[in-house]
């Protein structure tokens, strides 16, 4: 192994060598620079690998032939080696990225770059306080020099502000160092840490050293200067400033904090969380991409500072957690800055230019996901472990603050991603092969570190999961035609079903059928798509992978990871819809909010256990069990779109593509239901403050069922109607589950199956109509029965099934449902849910009536039947519904006996195909017979009466010679239920929407107001810095004494 000091020597030596070169030989200078950086990176990486694999031990490097404290010593352990790798690699890649500007400015700029990377590595390795100061000052000078690489003239002012602030910081640091030396007689970090300092006379000195280093991390709100640099500097340099400088400064703080002792940890943690929250909040108001990245960098570094504050408590897992966050931040942030170099204009929506190159879009998605801490990236494992530690310590409020800020951060980033995918940019992309290659290398590194963190996690290594890899396989396959990919996708789903179905209990089996086989059936409709359909299969399969894994998950970690997979996959899928940008954003915001509630719930439940099997939920101590229950239920109810948390659903489901709507409605909603099943099965009834939480669920279910149905009846848009109807249907299922009895559960399961079938069918039918008529507004349709007979049949069968009239399976659902509520004594919600039934009729009637019956519009005269591939799954579903109606026992009987083992009762008696309960008998075959007879009789009657019918010509109407102001208002289908609206319209008051937009406006308002703090004046920034120091000192002293 080479001595790690070579990292410093190579940097410094090459910088001096550059001075010997001629002014004109820029190329030779550039090669020297890159060569030196490559040597530095190689040394750092080889030490990282050797130390990680245990081939060598950490090494102490002495200088000047004397031992510390008489000479400076440096150390390379695993953390140091890994961090210098991050620093040198960022430097190397950024050097390539900045090649043109480095050549333009010549060897001096390159020397400065080398000195910066060298100094950052030195700051990481040194164990001497004063040496740290020297390296810091070198960093300051080099940074101020490299800021000038930018062609943006404003960078000049930013660099000067930075110098002003750095002067103040260095004054604080020097005074702190000399008094620390005075108190300890040594400048060696290890010597100082042996003398406990605590809150004695030397504490001010220690405070000054510490705060000066923390200020280098740009803590909120004393960080305006840093944001200005991020905004105006060369993106290649910003990548270094964020990834490399941030990492080095963090490690410096860590070393000093370890030296100062545990008394000071709280200080770091406090500044960390304030910074994380403040920066993410203020980022909400940003429209400038690089400034946004600056806020995000500040926030991430604040988060790691928080973790450093917990270092003592985290023990062995500290390096894992802090490292996971740091490496994710470094790679993602550097990658995003590099990408920003390829985008010409600076508004967030200008990133739409990325769409010219699909590879860049994928890279953008990877970096955003990595930064947000989604699986399988290291930050995901880190957040998981960190939240678990917080929960074990009972630091619940800190955990809540952390998760809320993380949610805001995710919202900011995904809003940006949505803009890039849906907006248009006036500028084309600045194509740069080097830039693209560098970003690709960053993504490859991201995958490599994900594998490492997965391996170390003690949990499943997510990146080696077959379903995930299968979904990712479709990224390179995206050049193939859509149909070939569709065949592959279907085959993959069927295969996965065949592999995983064994050994599941009937309940999970049913969900697996719905989620995986159901997905395969719905993918048949995707054969309709022509061309390549890029960017569809990876998200779709990611979603199905998530659902497949969810059903088979055994531990809370697997469950949560699967949950995140399906959330992210469905987000990308929903985002594909034409006008879905705002809806996809609210979807991901609510979903991630729900996911964080799950994370918190699992973390509290685990109570320090490294792996927590889901079935252990039943053994959670009763002291915390109700809280776990509330958090988990909140997460699941967000997914099932219970009233109040539902506002994301209508837009997301209605604006999605034709074949995506049934996937996210028919299948995805079941994930929430599955979660509730598991939750109630394991935890049962819980009481919080004397309230039985299942009763709360009963109420929520009933309200959702009723209000969802009312809202559905008032929609003009057919897909929105179906979307609101899903809220109502899920309400039924939640209601059934929360009844906590055998029949209620059977009801919920029945609803899960039925809802999948008929909602998929109806969404496909309406989607087919939309494909042909190019509208979703029902008053623009009408009379399509003769033109689209198959679609009509599937809607007819669908609404018969859904409304619960005999003979279709919906009736079975209702029958079980009435039996279930007979056996409970909750009268009021029972009435509500009864009422939801007739209201359901209203919207279903509207659906079939306004689309298929009535007068045909002139412009729709040439409409054809829906495309074959969209019809095919519908016809399969029709066939299924008809047979399921006759033979409900196919599935239900097995599940019924399984639920019987859970509750220990048998309320239903199956004899052949006949089902008996305490209240009555259900004979599906007989019902079929009766209905068929009635139907045939009426049909014959109608045919017989047909000869009497009087033909009415279309357009046989006038408006008294008046041209109506809004022609559509005269259509019968417009405001179809006006009288009902008069009666029940108050239910339409958008209470939930107003509430959530109020929350959003308040956050945006706060952000917009608070960021005025950054006046742009360098002096103001310096004053803020001093006030920050004084404020922190007063608070810290108050805390210590």
């Amino acid at each position: 192994m080479v001595n790690p000091l070579l990292i410093l020597a190579a940097g410094l030596g090459a910088a001096f060598l550059l001075g010997l070169l001629r002014e004109t030989s820029e190329r030779a200078a550039f090669h020297t620079t890159v060569g030196a950086l490559a040597v530095m990176a190689f040394v750092a990486l080889s030490w990282t690998v050797a130390l990680a694999s245990g081939q060598t031990d950490p090494v102490e490097m002495l200088t000047a032939g004397a031992k510390p404290p008489f000479a400076i010593n440096l150390r390379t352990g695993i953390a140091e080696a890994a961090l210098t790798s991050v620093v040198t690699l960022t430097g190397l890649l950024s050097a390539f990225f900045m090649r043109r500007d480095l050549l333009r400015l010549g060897r001096r700029a390159m020397a400065v770059l080398l000195v910066l990377i060298m100094a950052l590595s030195g700051l990481i390795m040194t164990r001497d306080l004063f040496n740290m100061f020297v390296f810091l000052e070198l960093i300051v000078i080099a940074t101020a020099g490299l800021v000038l690489l930018s062609k943006d003239t404003r960078a000049l002012a930013a660099g000067f502000k930075y110098l002003v602030v750095s002067q103040v910081i260095s004054i604080l640091l020097l005074i702190g160092i000399i008094f620390t030396y005075h108190a300890n007689g040594s400048l060696n970090i290890d010597d100082i840490s042996e003398v406990p300092m605590g809150a004695n006379g030397a504490s001010l000195a220690m405070f000054l050293v510490l705060i000066a280093l923390i200020l280098e991390l740009k803590p909120f709100p004393a960080n305006g200067w840093a944001l200005d640099i991020y905004e105006s500097a060369h993106p290649g340099f910003s990548a270094i400033f964020s990834a490399a400088s941030g990492s080095a400064a963090l490690f410096a703080v860590y070393k000093v904090l370890a030296m100062a002792g545990p008394d000071w940890a709280l200080l770091a943690a406090g500044i960390g969380i304030v910074t994380f929250v403040g920066a993410n909040l203020l980022a909400l108001a940003q429209t400038h991409d690089r400034r946004l990245l600056g806020y995000s960098s500040v926030g991430q570094i604040g988060l790691i500072l928080l973790v450093i504050g917990f270092a003592d408590r985290l023990g062995d897992s500290f390096l894992y957690i802090a490292g996971g966050l740091l490496v994710s931040h470094a790679i993602a942030k550097a990658g995003l800055f590099w990408l920003s170099g390829m985008v010409k204009a600076r508004d967030l929506s200008d990133w739409a230019a990325l769409r010219e190159n699909p590879v860049l879009v994928v890279l953008f998605a990877v970096f955003i996901a990595m930064l947000t801490g989604l699986p399988p990236f290291p930050a995901f494992y880190a957040k998981w472990s960190f939240v678990h530690v917080l929960a074990t310590d009972g630091a619940y409020s800190l955990m809540a603050v952390f998760l809320i800020a993380a949610l805001i951060e995710a919202t900011v980033l995904f809003r940006w991603f949505g803009m890039a995918l849906k907006r248009s940019s006036g500028h084309s992309l600045h194509i740069s092969l080097t830039g693209e290659a560098i970003a690709l290398i960053a993504a490859a590194l991201a995958i490599a570190v994900s594998w490492v963190w997965g391996n170390l996690s003690g949990q499943e290594n997510l990146i080696t999961l077959v379903p995930l890899l299968f979904a990712l396989l479709f990224l390179p396959l995206d050049i193939l035609p859509a149909r070939i990919k569709n065949v592959l996708a279907i085959a993959g789903l069927v295969f996965w079903f065949a592999v995983t179905k064994n050994g599941l209990d009937p309940l999970r089996y049913v969900f697996l059928i719905i989620m995986v086989l159901g997905g395969a059936i719905l993918l048949l409709a995707s054969f309709h798509a022509t061309g390549r359909r890029m960017g569809f299969y990876t998200p779709a399969l990611l979603m199905f992978a998530g659902m497949g894994l969810l059903v088979t998950s055994e531990t809370s970690f697997q469950f949560f990871a699967a949950w995140e997979f399906l959330t992210v996959g469905s987000y990308f899928l929903i985002l594909r819809g034409q006008d879905s940008e705002p809806h996809a954003l609210s979807y991901i915001t609510f979903s991630l909010g729900g996911a964080f509630a799950l994370l918190a719930g699992f973390a509290i439940a685990a109570n320090g256990a490294p792996t927590f099997p889901i079935e252990n939920l039943s053994e959670v101590p009763s002291r915390i069990a109700p809280y776990v229950f509330v958090l988990l239920a909140a997460g699941f109810l967000t997914k099932t779109a219970v009233m109040g948390l539902h506002i994301w659903l209508p837009g997301a489901h209605a604006e999605a593509e034709t074949d995506v709507s049934p996937m996210v409605s028919g299948i995805l909603l079941k994930a929430g239901l599955f979660g509730l099943f598991v939750l109630l099965m394991e935890m049962g009834r819980q009481e919080l403050f004397g309230v039985d939480l299942t009763i709360v669920l009963v109420w929520l279910g009933a309200l959702s069922a009723f209000i969802g149905a009312v809202l559905s009846a008032f929609q003009e848009d057919a897909k929105r109607l179906l979307a609101y109807s899903s809220i109502s249907q899920m309400g039924y299922a939640v209601f059934g589950l929360a009844l906590m009895n055998h029949l209620g559960w059977l009801l919920a399961l029945m609803f899960a199956i039925n809802h999948f079938v008929y909602k998929s069918m109806l969404f496909l039918a309406v989607g087919g109509v939309k494909e042909r008529t190019h509208t979703k507004l029902m008053y623009k349709m009408g009379g399509l029965i003769t033109l689209m007979p198959f679609t009509f049949v599937s809607v007819l069968v669908g609404i018969i099934a859904m409304s619960g009239v005999p003979p279709l399976s919906g009736f079975g659902g209702r029958w079980i449902f009435y039996n279930a509520i007979m056996s409970t004594d909750l009268r009021l919600p029972m009435i509500l849910i009864f009422m939801a039934g007739p209201v359901g009729f209203l919207y279903l009637f509207r659906l079939i009536h306004t689309i298929f019956l009535g007068q045909l519009k002139d412009e729709l005269r040439l409409t054809k039947e829906a495309p074959f591939w969209i019809l095919l799954p519908q016809m399969l579903f029709v066939g299924f519904l008809l047979s399921f109606a006759i033979l409900p026992g196919m599935i239900l009987r097995r599940v019924d006996s399984y639920i019987g083992t859970l509750f220990g009762d048998t309320p239903l008696v199956w004899t052949g195909k006949i089902v008996d309960s305490q209240y009555g008998t259900w004979n599906p075959v007989a019902i079929w017979g009766v209905i068929a007879t009635v139907f045939v009789v009426v049909f014959i009657l109608l045919i017989w009466m047909n000869h009497n019918a009087q033909k009415v010509k279309q357009f046989n109407i006038v408006f008294s010679a008046e041209r109506p102001f809004k022609p559509q208002t005269t259509h019968f289908a417009w405001n179809f239920f006006a009288p009902y609206r008069k009666a029940m319209g108050f239910l339409e008051t958008p209470v939930a929407t107003s509430f959530w937009s109020g929350v959003s406006n308040m956050l945006h308002g706060t952000a917009d107001f608070t960021r005025k703090l950054y006046t742009g004046n360098g002096q103001t920034y310096a004053v803020q810095l001093l006030f920050f120091v004084i404020a922190v000192y007063l608070i810290a002293m108050g805390g210590l004494s």
């Binding site: 020297v134 660099g159 260095s170 020097l174 008094f179």
Partner: protein, 119 residues
């Protein structure tokens, strides 16, 4: 008051004076001068803290090595001061270069004229 106390007091006075000057003068050149005053103050503090009364300068040419430990003052702060002075020079030079370029860009040396980057 001892020599050490006087120099400490002077050092801190210079630091506060310098900081006050840097934060209250809008002219960039005046700010730079103020910062040099402040760093002079810091250097004075460094020396004062490391000074041992009655000891000599740590130059081993004039003092026999054997008795050096009793006779010389602590050499570490002296080394620190030297380094700090050098670094201070570098930073001051860089700030002056910046001032020059800022003036060339805008024709002004008023710090409050350079606030396009904000919020």
């Amino acid at each position: 008051m001892t020599l050490v106390q006087i120099s400490l007091a002077t050092g801190f006075a210079l630091i506060f004076l310098g900081l006050y000057g840097a934060l209250s003068n809008r002219n960039i050149l005046r700010m730079i001068v103020s910062f040099t005053i402040a760093s002079t103050g810091v250097n004075l503090v460094l020396v004062a803290v490391g000074y041992l009364p009655g000891r000599e300068a740590p130059i081993l040419d004039t003092i026999p090595v054997a008795s050096a430990a009793e006779r010389i003052t602590d050499p570490v702060p002296q080394a620190l001061v030297l380094t700090a002075i050098v670094i201070g020079l570098g930073v001051t030079a860089l700030m002056l270069a910046y001032a020059y370029r800022l003036f060339r860009a805008r024709g002004s040396l008023d710090i409050s004229d350079f606030t396009e980057l904000k919020w």
